[in-house]
Symmetry: none
Subunit: 128 residues, 2 copies
DNA sequence: CTTACTGTATTATTATAGTTAATACAGTTT
DNA sequence: AAACTGTATTAACTATAATAATACAGTAAG
C-alpha cells in the first residue's frame, strides 16, 4: 500500500509524502481516516521510524494530515480543495511535458492537435 | 550560456548534461561544433573540471557528443535518432493528462491556453 | 493504576553522492 | 618546445538521508 523504492534518488520520506498526498487527493484515504502509526508503518515497510516521522511532519505542515499525540495521525478535510489541488498537479505535469515537446521541436500547433485528439478519443470510449 | 544552479538538488553535472542535450536537440549546438574544453568550461562557470568531465563522459556515453583526446569534445550527429522515441513517449503521457483534466471538468480551450503559457514560460527561461 | 499504545524530540553514528583538489599522462596543435 | 586538448586516479571535504537508541508525555483500555 505504501511502497517506496529505497534505491531511488528521491528520498524515502519524500516518496512517502508524495504517495500519501496522492492517496488523499484521490480520496483513497478519506477524511479523518487514521494513518498507520509511525512505528507500525516503519515495520510495514522496514525503514526507520524517524523517517516516517519526518514524512508525517511534512504532511502536517502542508495541511494534509493532523497529528494528535497519544492518538495518532489522521487525514485532514481537504474536500473542498481536492479537485483544485488535483488539477494543479496535473497542470504542472502538463506544463513540463509541453515544454519538453517544444524543445524537441514539436510545434505548438501540433500539440494542440494532440489535445483535440485526446478529447475525441475520450468521447469515443466514455470509460475511465 | 551554460548556466547551472549550484543550490539546486539536481547535481551540477546533470544540469549540464540536460542543458547541453537540449541545445543539441534544438540545434543550438550544431553537428561537429566544438564544445568548450573541460578546463575552459570549468573556469567559465567556476566549478571543478572533474564535474565537467563527468558531464561530458555521460553525454558521450549517451551518444550526444564524441571526444577526441588532444583535440576536444564535439557534437555528434544525432538528428532524427535521439528525439523521435522521446516524442512518442511524451505524446502518450500528454494524452493521459489531458484526458484526466477533461474528466475533472477543465475545458479543452483552457487546456490549450495552458499549452500557450508553457510555451511563453519556456521562451522566458531560454533567454536567461 | 498499569500496560501498551500513540506522537514527539534529541543526539550520535553511518552511508552515500556530489564536489573539490591536486596531480599525472598522453595526444594535438602551432 | 610550449600550450593546448581529453582522460585517469586518489584523497579529502561536504551535505543529506537514514539508522539507532533513547526519552518523555498524552491516550485508551484492562
Amino acid at each position: 500500500m505504501f511502497d517506496v523504492d529505497v534505491r531511488s534518488r528521491v528520498p524515502i520520506y519524500e516518496q512517502l509524502v508524495d504517495n500519501i498526498k496522492k492517496m488523499i487527493i484521490q480520496n483513497v484515504l478519506e477524511k479523518d481516516e487514521k494513518l498507520p502509526s509511525v512505528r507500525k508503518m516503519a515495520q510495514e515497510i522496514t525503514i526507520n521510524p524517524n523517517t516516517i516521522q519526518k514524512a508525517y511532519r511534512e504532511l502536517e505542515s502542508e495541511g494534509y494530515i493532523y497529528s494528535v499525540p497519544g492518538k495518532g495521525s489522521f487525514v485532514s478535510d481537504t474536500k473542498n480543495t481536492v479537485s483544485n489541488q488535483k488539477i494543479e498537479v496535473l497542470t504542472e505535469e502538463l506544463e513540463g511535458i509541453v515544454k519538453e515537446l517544444i524543445y524537441l521541436g514539436v510545434p505548438v500547433k501540433k500539440i494542440k492537435t494532440l489535445v483535440d485528439e485526446a478529447e475525441a478519443e475520450m468521447r469515443e470510449d466514455g470509460d475511465r
